[in-house]
Amino acid sequence: MGKIKNSKRDFFGLLRNLVYSYFLSQLLLTKQTKAKKNKPRVVVIGAGFGGAACISYLSKFTKILNLYVFDKNSSIQTGPFSNLVIGDILTPQDITFKPNFSSNVKLYDKSVKFIQSEKKKIVFTDNQSFSYDILILSPGIGFKSQNIEGYSDENIYLTPHCWDGEKKLADFKKKLNDLENNSKILISAPDYPYRCPPAPYERASMIAYYLKKKKLNFTINILDSKDSFTKKENFFSEWKKNYHNSINWISREEGGKVLSIKNKEVFTEKGLKFSGDLINIIPDQKASNIIHQSELINDDWCTVNPINFELRGHKDIYVLGDSIDAGDMPKSGFSANSQAQALSMNLINMLLQKKYTDPVFLNTCYSFSTNERAFSITAWYRLNSSKDRIVSLGSKESKLLASDLERIDESEEAFGWYNNITKMMYG
């Protein structure tokens, strides 16, 4: 009798559990279906080194998000290695990529006018709009052109700055090619912070390499808004070895900061006057115009939470790359790549309701002095103890008296990095 009672109890218990399980599974299924239907719309603006690395990472998670990308250009010309085009070592085609993102990423070439953060909407220059749930901004850099009197993109006496991935390298190269023997070249290097700190000096090296190959004599004066620059000793050593005394550096202290330009003459802070047959002004910089036009910040640079790169004061907007104040990290393609890994990983952590991972960052920046000689600086970064700033663990440069073989090795490593990373980002 007792056994029958127990069996009955077991049977009803089992039935009850089955009913519970059924309802529970239906509830979970409904939740999952709802989640699938309500996948957040993640929009990336800018397909340069920061944006493309985010896309590469996030495209593996399109089961939990919808991924859209907008860039004003249908093909991307990289800032990294653009000086090698000036040196005639690479062609513009070598550094231009038609993105071949994964098929679950929707890519559009559209130019952004501004962002309406309160409405979570992007407005384009053709006045169409697009809404987002999560916005990732990797828009590159903006310029403070007004800092130098007489400076403008239209000034016919100047060569284009070629600092923003726009396709004006051909104009630059034409002016360079037109130079005759004993030409004078002026390059003005901006004040910190700016995109790719060693690049003005690499540009001087590449101009020198090109003119030397044409067997022309020349003088390059670098007029600097700073009293020092990254990898200075290595640059000086390479210039001496390869170009003798053709490249001169005039620090700010010595009167290098450019204040104004008139025709072919440049006037500096200490009352000095320089003239040039080729004048290349690299203006002071700030966050991209998109960010200022959208009134997302009041200062020159974006302040972000360095754990997830969320823009201060703007929920669901994330910024990375050259437009942010990244603490000790320089503005470089490599830095933007590294920030993209951390941003993307913690964005996925957030969507999966997991804890954030404390990020760690790496930057390695190569500079070329000839077609086959390069040197680099490298550093790891982590968060400070209050987790509100990215700090360096100490940078290390190539040694000053490196052998020819070591310089060649580094140039091969630089090409290796560039080929690998562009293949990973753009397919």
């Binding site: 890994q341 990983m345 404390d358 990020p359 760690v360 490298t378 090795d409 690998n420 293949k423």
Partner: protein, 95 residues
Amino acid sequence: MNKLLLIFFCSLIFSQTLGDEVRTSMIINNCNLCHTDSSSNVENIPYLKNLEKDYFLSKMYSYKKEKNNSVMKRILIPLNELDIIEMADYLYGED
């Protein structure tokens, strides 16, 4: 007392390293900025997962010990031997 001093000394050394508090996966993600997570790499910067675990470990130790100033030598400065073992376990599995 000597033990306490030793622990204090070790904690000072390792406070300068990367791997004790951060996830190994984050470090590997940064390695992949050059090595990438694709097997179609250029020869001089190989896809890490294609390497043998023993080869990876011996190569990393040799970079740590070498006297020149290569990029890899400099990148490995903040990583200690434990970090390297954890990276190897992450990439190739534990033995």
